[in-house]
């Protein structure tokens, strides 16, 4: 059953037509596979599963760029060390968000339905349809190429951008601490610890 699912998954990913999109779709397929494999292996402890997701995300998301964007004006005021600490916290936060979204994964089928290039912004948009027994959901990956590598810059689920939502959410909290990134780091660190406990238990 698991092997059949993997075969279907691979077959769908091979049906992307655009040349540029082809490479990015292949790359995305490989990276998603890594995460899925960790969920298909029921014997894998939750800590290890999360570690795999975190490493995949750290390697393939434009974590630092997203972190800066999300921090908004608070970024410029912060010291170098604070920024470094914030980026570290943010990357973990991102991984926890993705891991949490994957909690309900139960071998659903996926299909890369469309791949387009936004020439104006030089980004690739890859639509992925996730099927469940009662319907389907489209997730759009926004991907950017840099130095011959692809990086995810945003994830859109049901018309909602993860990055835009995080920016709005962080901005609301940063306002309460006078846009002090150092104070915000404490909040983010505590939130990450809380989320991590929920993920591993």
């Amino acid at each position: 059953m698991k092997n059949t699912f993997l075969c279907i998954f691979f077959t769908f990913f091979l049906n992307i037509n655009l040349a540029f999109g082809d490479d990015s779709a292949d790359w995305l397929k490989e990276e998603i596979d890594k995460i899925l494999i960790s969920y298909q292996n029921v014997d894998l402890p939750n800590e290890n599963r999360f570690l795999m997701i975190e490493q995949t995300i750290n390697n393939n998301f434009a974590g630092t760029g997203i972190a800066k964007f999300v921090a908004g004006e608070a970024w410029n005021k912060a010291s170098k060390d604070t920024k470094k600490e914030y980026v570290k916290n943010f990357k973990r936060h991102l991984a926890l968000n993705i891991a949490s979204m994957m909690q309900g994964y139960s071998n659903q089928k996926y299909q890369l339905s469309e791949s387009k290039i936004d020439k104006k912004n030089k980004i690739i948009l890859i639509d992925m349809e996730i099927f469940s027994e009662t319907g389907s959901l489209v997730v759009t990956w926004r991907v950017k190429k840099s130095k011959d590598r692809f990086f995810v810059i945003d994830l859109i689920v049901a018309d909602i951008s993860l990055v835009v939502t995080k920016r709005s959410e962080f901005n609301s909290m940063l306002k309460n601490v006078d846009y002090n990134l150092s104070k915000f780091n404490e909040i983010l660190f505590n939130q990450n610890n809380e989320s991590y406990q929920k993920i591993i238990n």
């Binding site: 292996n41 434009a62 630092t64 997203i66 912004n121 859109i156 835009v164 959410e169 909290m173």
Partner: protein
């Protein structure tokens, strides 16, 4: 046993590839100032935020205690039954969808939705089976809030309604208009079957909630400010619905550059 062995090998390969990727990314030099942002409206007009937050907390508690457990129970029903209920409720909304499509000048969509209603109500056994989808008549949702927006009426301020959740002044007006003009509810009331209206509202809530259990939990468990996250999500979702444009084209595009540690 064989599939377990297969999975183990794949996991090992994956772990090895992580290390390779990790070292590859570390060797790339950093590019300072290689970043810019678009001017996205960070501030949503929310002048009664303290009141909204209080109602939001109440709704959140009600969701955890009542709605989420019921939605989880509903998810355990056989999937054809869930689909049937969902299709039935969706079909009941269609007459008002047609009205709103006409009010927005979407003649072609109105004809399609009317076709959907006729097909699903007859061949689809009172809307339980979505036969229209199978013949290419896709479901398209429109409501009075979207119609008012199309007519140029702005959002107004952000509102959190008790039990109904996130909204704004325009969409709340739209919701009241829906309640007042819904022909199915009007028929039920005229027949002395008033129980049908709250029952239908509750069934809609459970059906919709059951579709986003994991997404809501992910947002709730990982937000530094859950209220702000829901507010932003609501506005993004409504913007997409109002403009009827592909989500990836519509959502404001953060211009994020790639940086290396």
């Amino acid at each position: 046993m064989k599939s377990k062995y297969y999975s183990l090998i794949l996991v090992l390969i994956t772990l090895i590839s992580f290390n390779l990727y990790g070292s590859a990314s570390d060797q790339v030099t950093a590019e300072p100032d290689d970043y810019e942002t678009t001017k996205i409206d960070d501030e949503i007009y929310d002048p009664i935020e303290p009141i909204n937050r209080a109602i939001f907390s109440f709704n959140n508690a009600a969701d955890k205690i009542i709605l989420e457990p019921i939605a989880k129970g509903y998810k355990k029903l056989p999937s054809p039954l869930q689909s049937g209920i969902s299709n039935f409720l969706s079909n009941l909304r269609t007459p008002l969808v047609v009205v709103n499509q006409l009010l927005q000048g979407q003649g072609e969509n109105a004809v399609q939705s009317s076709g959907r209603f006729v097909l699903n109500s007859t061949i689809g056994i009172f809307g339980l089976i979505d036969v229209a989808e199978k013949v290419g008549l896709e479901e398209k949702e429109e409501d009075f809030g979207q119609t008012l927006a199309t007519w140029g009426i702005g959002d107004g301020f952000y509102l959190v309604l008790p039990l109904f959740g996130p909204s704004n002044l325009r969409d709340t007006t739209g919701m009241v208009m829906t309640m007042m003009t819904d022909p199915i509810n009007a028929y039920a009331l005229s027949e002395g079957e008033a129980w049908f209206v709250p029952m239908r509202t509750a069934a809609n809530a459970v059906d919709q909630r059951s579709k986003i259990i994991d997404e809501v939990n992910a947002l709730r468990d990982n937000s530094v400010d859950y209220y702000a996250a829901v507010r932003s999500s609501y506005y993004q979702n409504r913007k997409a619905a109002i403009n009827n444009i592909d989500d990836s084209e519509l959502t404001p595009l953060p211009l994020i550059s790639i940086e290396f540690d």
